[in-house]
Structures are given as C-alpha cells and as structure tokens.
Symmetry: C2
Subunit: 340 residues, 2 copies
C-alpha cells in the first residue's frame, strides 16, 4: 500500500493529499460525442479535474472487442473523441488524458490477473450474455469475454480508488472488486479496491424522440456546426396531435421540449404554457431551441475548433507519460507479489 | 512479410539465410529436469543450435496457469531450468534463451489477438477439458483457458516458422495456425503460420518402473550428484521374479535394463544374455548402470557445476534483448495491420 502513497501526488500540483479521490474513467473511440455526453458524463469529468486526481482513458483496445473486423476508424475516432473531451472542459493540465494501447502495462497486468480469474466469473457478468444476444455470436471472442477484466486493469493499473458508474456497469465494478480481493488474498495487499461513484444521468431525447444514441442516427453532436444543428432541430419529431400552430401540444411527450429543458432554463415555463395553449407553433419553438442550443454550444465548439490534431497528440503523449509513471510501479508490485 | 526478412539474421552469425528454419520451443519452470529430458528434447535443442535459428523460452507465465496459488518456486526454478539447458549443450551463443515475462510484447500481442479468437475455439482444445478433469475446476481460469493462445503468441512474436511438437501438442499448434490464418485474412498477411516438426521421444523408465516423471518422484535428475544417482539406481525396482542372483530375469520388463539401453550401448547384448540366464545379479547390474550413467552424465554435470546464477542472468538478459529486437517489430506490424 505504500506504493499508492509513493505515486499519489503525480497529478497533484498542490503536492500529496491522500484524502483526494483518484478517479478513473474512459470511453471507447466509436465516433463523435453528442450533447447527451456533454450535459452528462463530460460535465462530471470537467468537475473531477477541479476536485480530484483524474485519469481519462481512450479505450481503443476495448473498441476492438466489438469492432475487430472494421478497425479502420479507430485511430481517427481517438482524435475526435479527445477533441470532444477538451471542448467540454476536460482539463489536460489537471488530469491525465491517454490512449489505452499506449500503456503496455495494462495488457501485461491483464495477462497476469487472468491467471486468478475463473472463467465462470466472466461468464456470469450479465452484459456478456446480453451483448451476445444483441450483437450475435461472432463477438463471443476470448477478448470480449475478458472485457470486464480489461476494465479492471484500466482501473487497477493507475490505482484508482473511485470509478464513476452507471447502473449498467455495476456488475463490472463488482466483478473487478472481487478480482482485487482475490489477488490481495492470494498474494498480499497490492491492488487498490475501487469504489463506485454514481454517474447516472437522465437520458437525453434524440431528434426522433427515442433516447439520443449514435447508433440510432438521432444525435446532435458537440462537433456539429450551427447550420447542421438548425437542420437537425427542424427535422425533429414533435407531438403528432399538434399539426397546426393553434393545436394544443403536449410538452411531456415532445423531444423538442425536453431539449428546451436542457438548455433554455428560464424560458421553459413560458414555452410549456404556450405549447399547451397552442399559441406557440412548432416551427417557432424549434427555431428558439436551435438558437439556444447553438448559443450554449458556441464556447464548446469554439474551443474545439481552436484545437488541432497535433495538440491532441501532445496531450496524449503527456498523458501516457503521467500514467506510465504509475503503471510501471503497479506492474512491478504485482510481479513482486506474484513472485514473477 | 518483408518484416521477417528484415529481422531474419538477428541470430545468424553467418548473415542472412532465409532457408534456415526459425525454431521456437519452451519449457515451464517447474523444477529440475531429468535424464528423460536430456536424452529427449534437450538433445534435439542442442542440435537446433547448430542447424537452425533457435529460440528457447522459459515459460514463467505459463507456469502461473496451474501454479498461481504457489508461485514462490517459479523464480528459483527459472535458474535451475536454464542451468539444465546449458548443461545439456544448448548454446546461448547460437540461440536466444529468454524468460517469457521479460518480453512484454508477448502479453500485448495476446490481448490484441484475443479479440479475434472465438471462445469456442479455446474450449474445444482437448487439453483444456482433460486438464480440468485431472487438476480440478480451480484451474478453469481465464488465463488457463487462454493457454493455447499464449503459446501461439510465444511463437508468433518471434515469427518462428517451425515448432517442435509431440502428439499431445498437435491440437495447440492447429489452433495457433487457425488464429494466424484468421488474423491474416482479416488484416492482411502479417503473422507467420508455424509448422510442426516431430518431436516425439520414447518415454524413459523411472526408478519405480513407471514412466519417468517429476510428479511420480521416480526421476534421475541432470543435476543429481554421483552418489545420489547410485542410491537411486540401487533402489530401482527390477523383475519381481528374479529374487536371487541365479534366478533368470526378464530384461523386457526391467527398468534397470531399459536405462542400460539408453547409456550402455555396446554392453547391452551381454547384459541381456546374462540377466536372462541368471548369471548377472541385480546388484551388479545396478552397479554397472550407476557407473555408466554417472560417466555419461559427468561432462553435463561438470558443465552445470561450472556455471553460476550470475551467468544465467547475463544469458537471459542477452536472450531477452535478441528476442525483443524482433518482438517489438512484430507487435508494431500487428498494430499497424489492426490500425491501432
């Protein structure tokens, strides 16, 4: 455990402060992020940079578990993803932003930990069977089966004590904690058992009224320009019973209204009232939403546009260096504990 | 494929010779080797050093797949194993002798290849179920399930084209070849498909008449001294019907006779005749065997005694360097092919 101490202030400009949480989170580079991410996880991440030691990983190896047949996009997506993070206020000076495959110690830790993880533990993680049902048996690979183990290695290699989790990831965290306990029981206290911190955000409605999700093609992206946002908002579905301006609308089932709630706070009661009465037509309502969305996204988009791929490369190189300073130590401790 | 070319002469003092086989083999560091190894695989290995590019791996990570609960001995066993190899004539100047865990690229390759290996391929490798039946469900870990994949990575990382295999390992080789073909099909020709070269040696009888095997406690070890060898030979079982000197014996069921065949060539017909007639008593027969064994083991044991752990460390450091020169290239090619 003294190892944690030793590397505790790598990211802390104020010097060692053991009360600080060390947070690790990550995303797969599967494409550009949308406003659901911006108003959800990324807002929380930007906050972590201010209050905690924070590690943010671009999980490119995880992306391979499901995209192994078409990896062409992964490298491009890494850059786009990091641009979105930076645009959203994730601060590379107060966190480590890095690519999973740039930290060899993660794979090495995975192979070592694989020796103590019963196959049955992995098979009973609910997401394993769920995903195979959804995506087909093709993805039932050895790597895919080991997904929760790789997630644990991402966390354990930086000795994070805190992990933001949504409800659907709780089983992965519980699996990871079990593996850490088994390791420490077999070889002595070495790894840090991570705790979860709630990271459940309300779903954001997509342009078609379903949950906003890349795979539905119903997103408004952080990186969209004003015109694209306007076009997408204009094409949004609304209450099907409100056909003409004077028809009364039902805001509670309208995705346009739900986006107003996200970005147009003080005006929401007025909009609700005039939608219900019929006085506010959908065209005007959408125009106002597009304007508000673009206004609130403007600083984010401007920050994004001011950055280039070369800066991202630099940030990722710097992040990998920060992480590896800790990762090399963690791996050495694990090898010592395992007498390897 | 040009990569193979580029690194082809790393081990060849005579310069590049693409017709040369590149052979990879390994052993798990589970304890001292016995004369069965000496007259079997190690003789072949010593030969490979003269005719081929040879890579010999101490498979310490593999040892963890079954010994994860008691790894204390692994590090000590690494040194003992390499001393046995060197004593048997494996030439570190004409091969690469290295420890698996000193080559991080093997684990990294394993995580990458895990993405394209169906779990079902691993589950159907016959040794998986056999071993679980023999050793119990405790060893049904994720690492143990991945054993044949790790073996392939050992082979693929050095781009070996030839692997010595006994019949019980044929299914592993076939699995490995399938994985290579799948990789090359998905991402373009990158990995070398290894071929097997027969490496089937007759079993050597142990002191109790069963096959000589460490786990039976019936071995005569390369590292034993003369007195220990004598004592072990004296305690050997013989034909139970031959109780006194003049009783006729049956050499074909006597393990003492089978060891004579191994080390006492020209004298074997005389021994057979006088055992059958009863003229040769077991005590004299064993004395002669002990003498012959010690005589033929003497140069091997002297070579072993002349080496120390520091030399082994140097040889292993040198071996890791040779291997990593190739491994880093192989991994880079794999990452390029996978667009990671």
């Amino acid at each position: 455990m003294q190892e944690t101490q030793r590397s505790a202030d790598v990211l802390s400009e104020e010097g060692s402060n053991s009360a600080k949480r060390r947070i690790m989170s990550g995303m797969r580079p599967t494409g550009r992020l949308h406003i659901g991410h911006l108003f959800g996880a990324l807002g929380q991440w930007a906050q972590f940079c201010k209050t905690d030691e924070a590690f943010f990983e671009v999980a490119d190896l995880h992306a391979l578990t499901t995209a192994f047949e078409h990896p062409e996009q992964i490298r491009h997506n890494v850059v786009e993803l990091v641009l979105d993070w930076l645009a959203a206020g994730v601060d590379p000076a107060r966190s480590a932003i890095y690519v999973q495959s740039h930290v060899p110690e993660i794979s090495r830790l995975q192979v070592l930990l694989s020796m103590i993880v019963p196959v049955a533990w992995l098979q009973r993680v609910p997401t394993f069977k769920d995903q195979i049902e959804q995506l087909g048996g093709e993805i039932a690979t050895y790597g895919f089966l080991g997904y929760p183990l790789m997630q644990l290695c991402d966390i354990a290699i930086v000795r994070a004590n805190t992990v933001p989790v949504g409800k659907d990831q709780l089983s992965h965290l519980e699996f990871g904690r079990e593996v850490v306990r088994r390791f420490n029981h077999l070889y002595g206290p070495t790894l840090v058992e991570p705790h979860g911190t709630l990271s459940e955000f309300p779903d954001v409605d997509g342009t078609d009224g379903r949950k906003m999700h890349k795979s539905y093609g119903n997103t408004i992206d952080i990186a969209d320009d004003d015109r694209t946002t306007e076009k997408k908002v204009r094409s949004m579905v609304t209450d099907p019973q409100k056909i003409r301006r004077n028809d009364p609308g039902r805001p509670e089932i309208c995705p346009v209204f739900s986006l107003h709630e996200l970005v147009n706070g003080p005006r929401v009661p007025w909009i609700e009232e005039h939608c219900r009465s019929g006085a506010l037509g959908c065209v005007d309502c959408k125009s106002e939403l597009a304007e508000r969305l673009n206004a609130s996204l403007r600083p984010v988009r401007e920050r994004r546009a001011s950055l280039d791929a070369a800066q991202v490369d630099e940030i990722l190189a710097d992040g990998a260096q920060k992480v590896r300073a800790i990762a090399v130590e963690t791996l050495a401790d694990v090898q010592t504990a395992m007498k390897i």
